[in-house]
């Protein structure tokens, strides 16, 4: 199967040359080497020959009537797939389906079996079409279908094979979820269908019996006439059918007890148990009939009393069954499956709500995978790293809305009936390759639970054994095992395995134990082993160990190894990405790119911290060369690309009146786009004013900066630009006020850290002047008309990298990213300062406060290499962190914040 011509072996061109591919390196490949050969410098060129423009999700089915056919695409627009031949592609992806191999009667069993087939996941590609797909096969049950199964598949189609390969786990996870959802709905629908069918059959049965009875009464001598025989046969058929269906119902009920080997099979437990209860209910109800019917069955057409008894029972049952508004129908003699019969649609197969939910899930998946791989990575990396710095994120980062929103929700078993609130299982997202968390290998607590679970499971199994389906199950198992493999080329298999183990580990440590996970985790190794067998890949399992270990090594090591290369590449790519994307501002893009801002920047954050923690002497920033964003060099390359752009952004005289540009301060959330624009403004400011550094110092050290000017547009623009530097600006930039036209009070000064103030000649203006002079000790005043800045002198060098007016950075977004990285580093230092115990508290009881003070001073001066003024920045940030940490979210509104200041003389800076 794997060798089928449709499946493209995922080998790299260069891999062919290597007879003995070395074990999967510790460092994920894509981070260590250039993504593509240097000649192929434009990573986007690769996608160009695909016949579709964007990735999409395709759902196809293998119809028993017409063969493979596409059902729908997500997004559901015709232009998505362009000239891409969906029919042809459906054929391809469905042809690699090797799950639905076993249907019908197994030998030695009288009844048809439902095949419990696990989903299979395949990556395949069509190099000619330039399409690659992650294909997720699943089977749904349909009473009317051949073998009761309908094979479906969901495929994530992309032009970038690497994207699929590297996102395999998450794709698999998400698709599994959708598939689970569909299947759960399908089981419901199937049970319902069975119920109807059983009712029909029973009704038919009773009618037939009655007919037979009448016939016998009317003409007892014609007992063995052809007609009577036919009737008897019919009756027997119906009875057999009833048994079959009852058995099917039993089987579908036992579905949940089956050990799942699908690691991603996480379903809503409530739903499951509900469904289970429903099915069991049904089962019970119908098994009540078993007695009388069984009797009649044994005695073939039985005698009247029995039949009557059966009828009585039936009537009773019907009385009970009045509640469902289904009137049983007479089933005519079975006709062979005909091809003009309409097959149920996917919606009909699955419960409507479940269908909707899974489509929603897939839509979400499609959305979350939009964009280039590099972009996805940086986003992921960013969020991962930001999550580690929860405490300082509020300073300069965009608030991440909700933790649960971040990624747990992705994995949470989706439940269309909204049970998920209770049955919430927090699963780790797939680690993929980015920032492997240290996996706690704690089997101890687990083994205990597993014990009990095992026994439970054993019970379940014995129960199963009693049912006639056990044999099937076993064979099923073996067939599944072969299916569990990934259809990929030989050499590509290893990474896959690697991913697998990682994934399983993660799962082990984080899954809440449920009765399925037991067996699945047990089977892990065997699955791998089976893969080997299937693929003929004789890599010993032990070979995988080092990799797994590497994944499990403490974060620091892995991260520091990995991050260095990713930093620059990602930034470049991101930049390019932004650049490419700017001309087409579509709404959807806008949405997806809501997160990226910090991305590139944040990925330096833990790094910096790490350095801090390790060496403790961060004094010279040059200590960590890898961290330095290669500003000049980078900017050079960019500036060449965007000369026009740059000139435009630096020269364009502020025309003023465009106040729509800067909605900062209007209470709206500042979007990334605005931030980038602000980055441009900030860059312009830095290049234009030699005292920009002083102004930035004021903002960063918590001194309120008043931008004073006549022209509202200019003031607003500058405020929007400078808002980037305001620590802890609040979710909606509450600490920034873009435009004030009257006098202000002390409360304004400490509520807002950056204020745009109107210069007016009216009486209002003079009172404004009065308040300016009165509170001058608390504020710095940037006069944009006269180009002066009144603020305390700053002679530090901490900000020189941020506010160098000779900077080579030409583009606003580049500068913004540069800025973010610098600010992050500041935040990391502040974090260290805040949480280093001995810098605030005496080590021994003998120490007085001045010793502690001295130590803090020493730390700032000697170890961080900061002067008096630079220290103020860190102290201010540290203070914010402290306040943030101590803040009780429930009581905050009653207490107004504190406002700290220093009595320092201001100096007037002129251009």
């Amino acid at each position: 199967m794997i060798g089928s011509p449709d499946v493209v072996a995922f080998t790299k061109e260069d891999d062919y040359g290597q007879p003995n591919p070395e074990p999967w390196p510790a460092l994920p490949e894509e981070f260590s080497i250039p993504l593509y050969p240097p000649a192929d410098s434009n990573p986007w060129a690769k996608t160009s020959y695909a016949k579709f423009t964007k990735d999409f999700i395709l759902i196809s089915e293998f119809s028993e009537q017409v063969g493979p056919q596409p059902l729908l695409t997500i997004p559901d627009e015709p232009k998505v797939c362009g000239t891409f031949d969906l029919n042809y592609f459906s054929l391809r992806i469905m042809s690699v389906d090797y799950q639905a191999s076993f249907v019908g009667h197994p030998p030695g069993s009288g009844y048809p079996r439902l095949s419990f087939v696990e989903d299979s996941r395949v990556v395949l590609g069509d190099s000619k079409e330039g399409a690659f797909a992650y294909v997720h096969h699943l089977t749904l049950y349909d009473l009317e279908a051949r073998g009761f199964v309908r094979p479906f598949c969901m495929a994530y189609v992309s032009a970038d094979e690497r994207k699929i390969m590297l996102q395999f786990q998450e794709l698999s996870l998400r698709f599994s979820q959708a598939s689970e959802c569909l299947k759960a709905g399908n089981r419901r629908a199937f049970a319902k269908e069975l119920q109807r069918k059983l009712q029909d059959l029973e009704y038919t049965h009773s009618v037939l019996q009655q007919e037979e009875g009448l016939q016998r009464e009317a003409a007892p001598q014609t007992r063995y006439s052809a007609h009577a025989v036919e009737k008897a046969n019919e009756l027997a058929n119906v009875e057999k059918s009833i048994y079959e269906h009852r058995d099917l119902l039993k089987q579908i009920t036992s579905y949940h007890r089956r050990p799942r080997r699908d690691p991603h099979a996480a379903t809503c437990h409530k739903c499951m148990s509900e469904c289970l209860a429903e099915c069991e209910d049904l089962l019970e109800k119908f098994s009540k009939l078993a007695g009388p019917l069984g009797c009649t069955g044994k005695k073939v057409s039985g005698d009247e009393t029995d039949g009557e008894a059966g009828e009585d029972e039936l009537e009773d049952e019907e009385g009970l069954r009045r509640r469902p508004s289904y009137t049983p129908q007479l089933i005519r003699a079975k006709s062979a499956k005909c091809f003009d019969k309409r097959l149920k649609t996917l919606q009909e197969l699955c419960d409507e709500t479940f269908y909707e939910a899974s489509i929603e899930l897939l839509k979400e998946t499609e959305k979350s995978f939009r964009g280039d791989l590099c972009y996805l990575y940086t986003c992921r990396l960013d969020t991962a790293l930001r999550r580690k710095q929860r405490l300082t994120n509020f300073l300069f980062e965009e608030e991440t809305c909700n933790d649960s929103n971040e990624d747990e929700v992705i994995i949470r078993p989706i439940c269309p009936v909204n049970h998920s609130v209770e049955s919430y299982t927090v699963l780790k997202p797939p680690h993929i390759v980015l920032a492997p968390e240290p996996l706690e290998d704690t089997p101890e607590p687990f083994s205990e639970t597993s014990h009990t679970l095992e026994s439970e499971l054993g019970l379940g199994e014995s129960h199963l054994e009693s049912s006639p389906s056990d044999q099937t199950l076993e064979t099923q198992d073996s067939s599944e095992e072969t299916k569990g493999s990934y259809s990929s080329g030989t050499s590509r298999n290893k990474p896959q395995h690697n991913l697998d183990t990682v994934k399983y580990d993660a799962r082990d440590s984080d899954f809440t134990p449920d009765h399925e996970r037991e067996s699945s985790s047990e089977d892990m190794e065997t699955t791998v082993g089976d893969d080997e067998g299937v693929n003929g890949d004789h890599t010993p399992v032990s070979l995988l160990e080092p990799d797994a270990e590497c994944e499990e090594t403490p974060v620091e090591v892995c991260e520091s190894d990995m991050l260095l290369p990713i930093d620059t590449t990602c930034c470049m790519a991101q930049d390019g990405f932004i650049y490419e994307d700017l001309p087409v501002p579509t709404e959807s893009h806008h949405n997806t790119r809501a997160q990226p801002p910090q991305t590139l920047v944040v990925n330096q954050e833990p790094q910096a911290l790490h350095v801090l923690q390790d060496h403790y002497t961060i004094g010279s920033p040059s200590k960590s060369p890898g961290l330095e964003l290669p500003v000049a060099q980078h900017a050079d390359t960019v500036s060449r690309v965007s000369v026009e752009d740059g000139s435009d952004c630096t020269m364009s005289a502020s025309t003023g009146s465009d106040r729509t540009l800067s909605p900062i301060g209007y209470g709206g959330v500042v979007t990334l786009r605005q931030k980038k624009k602000a980055g441009q403004g900030a860059l312009r400011f830095v290049r234009q004013y030699p005292f920009a550094m002083q102004a930035l110092w004021c903002l960063l050290s918590g001194r309120t900066l008043v931008v004073f000017g006549e022209d509202e547009g200019r003031v607003r623009k500058l405020v929007a630009a400078l808002a980037l530097f305001v620590p802890c600006p609040g979710k909606c930039a509450e600490r920034v006020q873009a435009w004030v036209s009257g006098p202000f009070s002390l409360t304004d000064i400490y509520r807002w850290k950056l204020i745009g103030l109107q210069r007016a000649s009216s009486p209002v203006g003079s009172s404004t002047l009065y308040s300016l002079s009165r509170y001058s000790r608390y504020i710095s005043i940037l006069d944009i008309d006269q180009k002066t800045l009144l603020c305390p002198p700053y002679r530090g060098h901490l900000l020189s990298n941020m506010a160098d007016h000779r900077t080579y950075i030409r583009r606003g977004s580049t500068y913004f990213l540069h800025l973010q990285s610098m600010l992050c580093r500041l935040a990391a230092k502040a974090f260290l300062l805040t949480f280093t115990h001995h810098l605030h508290l005496p080590v021994s009881s003998k120490e007085g406060p001045e010793v502690v003070l001295g130590r803090r001073h020493c730390f700032l001066q000697e170890q961080l290499g900061l002067g008096e003024e630079d220290s103020q920045i860190l102290l201010y940030l540290s203070q914010l962190i402290t306040q943030y940490y101590l803040q009780n979210p429930t009581e905050s509104p009653t207490v107004s914040p504190c406002f700290s200041f220093k009595y320092i003389t201001s100096v007037l800076y002129k251009i």
Partner: protein, 447 residues
């Protein structure tokens, strides 16, 4: 300093004028480097009273009494009940066998008196429909009584039962009451100080007028206890009289601005406004008496019976409240919306020509020549010291009515701009926050 903003000549002049006493932004000795604005009042806040180490109560023209936690800035209680402005606020320590509890007594223009429990915010007692509104309150803790002064003088017990009262013949009414030894109280009304003796017998209490001191020539503005033997009063025209607390005789009589109001007034202003030499406020620590005279400050030593140090123009307008922090440091607040910190320093050298600067400080820059001769008289005092401005607190936009100083360098000011500002030592606060941080870390088990 702000010339570049203001840009016009006359504005510049005004800046210079007010910068006579501007010490600039460099204030190394000013430890109030953190502030917190406490909002809650809707009108002028006039009274502040300390309840205990961490609480204070504020009251004002909106009739509200608010209880604050000065450590966190939290508003603890809102005592509502008075329909008109509060005219007096004081604490009342109620000592029972088990515990002592601090209660608050308020008097309002709605002619009612109320007793509040600041812990719960309950109004414990209230009396309304008094004949006149109460202007001042005096608690006699050892007798478990309190006195209210207005047009009449009443004595109440802790259950708000009227014990006795004394009709007052003056039309202005009593506006200050102080306690004197031997169960006497002194009440200031208009130009007189009346001494009453409170006789306490088993079941009755009575007030008898003992003496009337009518030595002031104008309305008395301030009346304080200096120590057990002395009390002091100040009048609208700058008379300062030190009295013997036991036999009510005059120990010292000073005319603080008398000389200058004679000579310099017509030169400078045409006529000296009485408000410029009115003694607005007096405070004392037993050895020194600090008098706020107009916009100036005078430190008077009770021991030497002489002015130790003074600053004629300490604020741009009237000083409303003062406090002696220690023997050398004092605080003043004024209608100009600033609180100033002063230090009594020795003069650099008596012979130093820099004393011209001292003259300069006495009056406005240009008028120092004219002001020179009369002030020589003051200079004759041998051990005159300098009152040096070491810091100022700017934050309020209206007149600062009062302030209360708490231990550990925190100060609460209340103002006509409806705000209270809590001034703190930033260093100490940040240290406290660090402590709290590590404590919380420990609690969370993350340390």
């Amino acid at each position: 300093m702000l010339r570049w903003i203001l840009g016009s000549r006359e504005a510049q002049g005004s800046v210079e004028k007010s910068s006579v006493l501007c010490i600039g932004e460099e204030q190394p000795q000013n430890c109030f480097t953190e502030l917190q604005v406490l909002k809650g009042h809707f009108d002028i806040v006039r009274f502040l009273v300390q309840i205990d180490d961490f609480r204070c109560a504020s009251a004002g023209d909106d009739g509200l009494v608010l209880v604050w936690n000065v450590e966190t800035g939290e508003k603890l209680q809102e005592l509502r009940g008075h329909s008109q402005q509060i005219t007096a606020l004081t604490t009342f320590v109620c000592r029972s066998e088990l515990k002592s509890q601090t209660l608050l007594i308020t008097a309002s223009s709605d002619r009612s008196l109320s007793l509040w429990d600041p812990d719960t915010g309950n109004r414990v007692q209230t009396i309304s429909d008094l004949q006149s509104s109460v202007k001042c309150l005096l608690v006699l803790e050892r007798l478990c009584l309190f006195l209210s002064g207005g047009e009449e003088l009443c004595v109440w017990n802790e259950d708000f039962q009227l014990q006795c009262h004394q009709q007052n013949h003056s039309d202005t009414g009593i506006f200050v009451l102080i306690e004197l030894p031997k169960n006497c109280v002194a009440a200031a009304m208009d130009k007189e100080i009346v001494i009453y003796r409170l006789t306490v017998s088993a079941n009755s209490r009575s007030l008898t007028e003992m003496h009337r001191l009518s030595d002031h020539r104008d309305q008395i503005r301030a009346l304080i206890n200096v120590n057990d033997n002395m009390f002091a009063s100040g009048s609208h025209v700058g008379e300062f009289i030190l009295w013997d607390a036991v036999n009510w005789s005059i120990l010292a009589y000073e005319h603080i601005l008398w000389e200058e109001s004679q000579s310099a007034s017509e030169i400078r202003m045409g006529s000296a406004k009485p408000s410029e030499m009115s003694i607005q406020h007096l405070c004392s620590n037993g050895k020194l008496v600090l008098a706020a005279v107009g916009g100036g400050l005078y430190v008077y030593s009770v021991l030497t019976k002489a002015v130790v140090a003074y600053r004629k123009v300490a604020h741009d307008s009237n000083v409303l409240h003062t406090m002696l922090l220690s023997d050398s440091k004092l605080l003043s607040c004024s209608e100009d919306g600033s609180v100033r910190l002063w230090e009594i320093q020795d003069l650099p050298l008596p012979a130093e020509p820099a004393s011209a600067g001292f003259f300069g400080m006495l009056t406005f820059g240009r008028s120092s020549k004219q002001a020179g001769p009369p002030s020589k008289k003051v200079l004759d005092v041998p051990d005159l010291k300098m009152l040096e401005l070491i810091g100022d607190l700017i934050g309020h936009s209206g007149a600062i009515q009062m302030f209360v100083n708490f231990k550990e360098n925190s100060l609460v000011t209340c103002s006509a701009d409806h705000l209270l500002i809590l001034w703190k030592n930033g260093e100490r606060q940040s240290h406290l926050r660090s402590l709290a941080l590590f404590q919380k870390l420990e609690e969370n088990g993350t340390l």
